[in-house]
Subunit: 311 residues, 2 copies
């Protein structure tokens, strides 16, 4: 009987998301390989550090890190923590790293990100999406700060063979690392549901130059957040994805309970990096328009952010 | 035969608007008296300077300036260039300065500003409103910079006797100073029409930290401006004030032709002064709501500005 080797996991990008989940997977003894760009030298030398409200202080050195895809071993799972804006550029690297029948998981926010990447991958690869409910940021190269939550809603998008089995396998893999993973039957719906948080908080944090706490405390910004949430919920419903009753209230409450948080888009903006405007704003706006629904507040947010980015 | 004395004009506030029109009226030889607060000492000593694209460099010294209303002579016309936010506080001073049957003119933007002031004035005073189509700002105490335009649409609000005659008298008075004054039959409509410019540019200049030129050049902000204009136009129509066809295009074109301009609200924000959010945003939103019309973008702008002001 041939011993089954443990699955080899490639983490693409070790920013906040890739770093956090990569550390947890590596700590659990899984065979994790990191493909890094700007942070390669620092992480190769010093490893990854996690300062976590849940896991305490972790420091993993002697990690398997790579600066280029060509030197990586073939991976069975590829967890993409890079930004959606680099997906097209990453696609050939994913193909290069992927073992036969590998599973690519986009740990990214936004709508239609799998649809955009799918044509760039061979049919032999599975494609999944993971929605990360987590407050985490990269304080510096190789230094991840985890403030709250940490679960992943994992959904299967497309690929050869039995998607349900692949999804179950992915959930089990993440749970091995004590990651609270949950399978979702409808990935598009899960993406809409995640957008109900991301659409207001990501953009408003940039536009109002504020973390979540101040925006939740002031009555007008709080009302605006709630109103943006309802706009996304209505667009989701019109697009065929009715979301759970009371979702906006639930998310407002969850945000009240979070520490003051600066979403990833705020960090992107502050650091002069490109913001994920297409995945988080343009894609849902296009879907809503196709369903005959207007999202005037969401559109205004996108227009304002595009102006700021163009400056 | 008794010689009719020339009308005595009180200018309340010598910021951008009060300063600009006050200088022109004084230059024309009219009997102008300025009531000043923070700028009193500087103007009393150095006079008022105007740097104008139309009138060149003007410097008027030996002006009739006052630090308190009690020392002013009774005025036949009171031109209020102060901000709407101080109207309630100004009302007793206006009453104190007003000659019998005086005319109070609010040279202010926003909706329902006369309605708010009217109950604080005796019935014996006339109340008018003037919409100033002008790019002007106060560079420093007593120093006014005039960048473009300069006309006033003057409308009669309420008072004893013949409003039409009072309006004609006011127009004639302003024209004596080469001010392009035009009588408007419907003041509320004129206020809505002015808001079509103020609603987008005033708030967005603060929110996007930008003058008009950059916002007009970038496609998204330009589309947002146009869309806000259409929202105001629709609210005006629903409130019974149909505005001229093609107004938004006309205003966009006029703004294209302006030099880069920072609206008054931008200066207020930068200097930590209170912004005219009630007159420019809350009042039209309330009027639209009463007419059953939503203004989601205008509301979002107000909510964002209130958040910024509250910080």
């Amino acid at each position: 009987m041939v011993e089954q080797r443990s699955p080899r996991i490639g983490i693409i990008g070790a920013g906040a998301i890739g770093g956090y989940y990569g550390i947890l997977l590596a700590r659990a003894g899984l065979d994790v390989h990191f493909l890094l760009r700007s942070d390669y030298a620092v992480v190769a030398e010093q490893g990854l550090r996690l300062d976590s409200v849940v896991h305490g202080q972790l420091h993993l050195s002697n990690l398997q890190v790579y600066a280029d895809a060509a030197s990586m071993p073939a991976c069975d799972w590829l967890l993409v923590g890079a930004k959606t804006t680099s997906n097209a550029e990453l696609a050939p690297l994913l193909v290069q790293i992927a073992a036969p029948g590998a599973k690519v998981v986009l740990l990214q926010n936004g709508l239609a990100v799998e649809e955009a990447l799918r044509p760039l991958l061979p049919d032999s690869l599975h494609l999944l999406g993971g929605l990360c409910f987590i407050c985490v940021h990269r304080a510096a190269a190789g230094q991840i700060v985890h403030q709250a939550y940490g679960g992943i809603n994992l959904g299967y998008h497309s690929g050869p063979g039995d998607g349900e089995a692949v999804l179950a396998e992915g959930v089990a893999l993440l749970r091995q690392a004590a990651i609270e993973a949950n399978p979702v039957a409808n990935l598009a719906q899960a993406r809409w549901q995640k957008l109900v948080w991301n659409v207001p908080y990501n953009g408003l944090s940039v536009l109002l130059n504020s973390g979540t706490a101040a925006m939740m405390q002031q009555a007008d910004s709080r009302a605006l957040i709630a109103s943006l949430m309802e706009e996304v919920i209505a667009a989701a419903a019109a697009s065929g994805h009715a979301l759970p009753e009371g979702l906006a209230d639930k998310l407002l409450l969850a945000t009240d309970r979070m520490p003051d948080y600066l979403p990833s888009m705020y960090h992107d903006w502050q650091l002069g990096r490109v913001m994920e405007l297409d995945a988080v704003y343009a894609a849902p706006l296009a879907a809503a328009a196709a369903a005959g629904v207007r999202m005037p507040q969401t559109r205004m947010l996108l227009q304002s952010l595009r102006f700021l980015e163009a400056r």
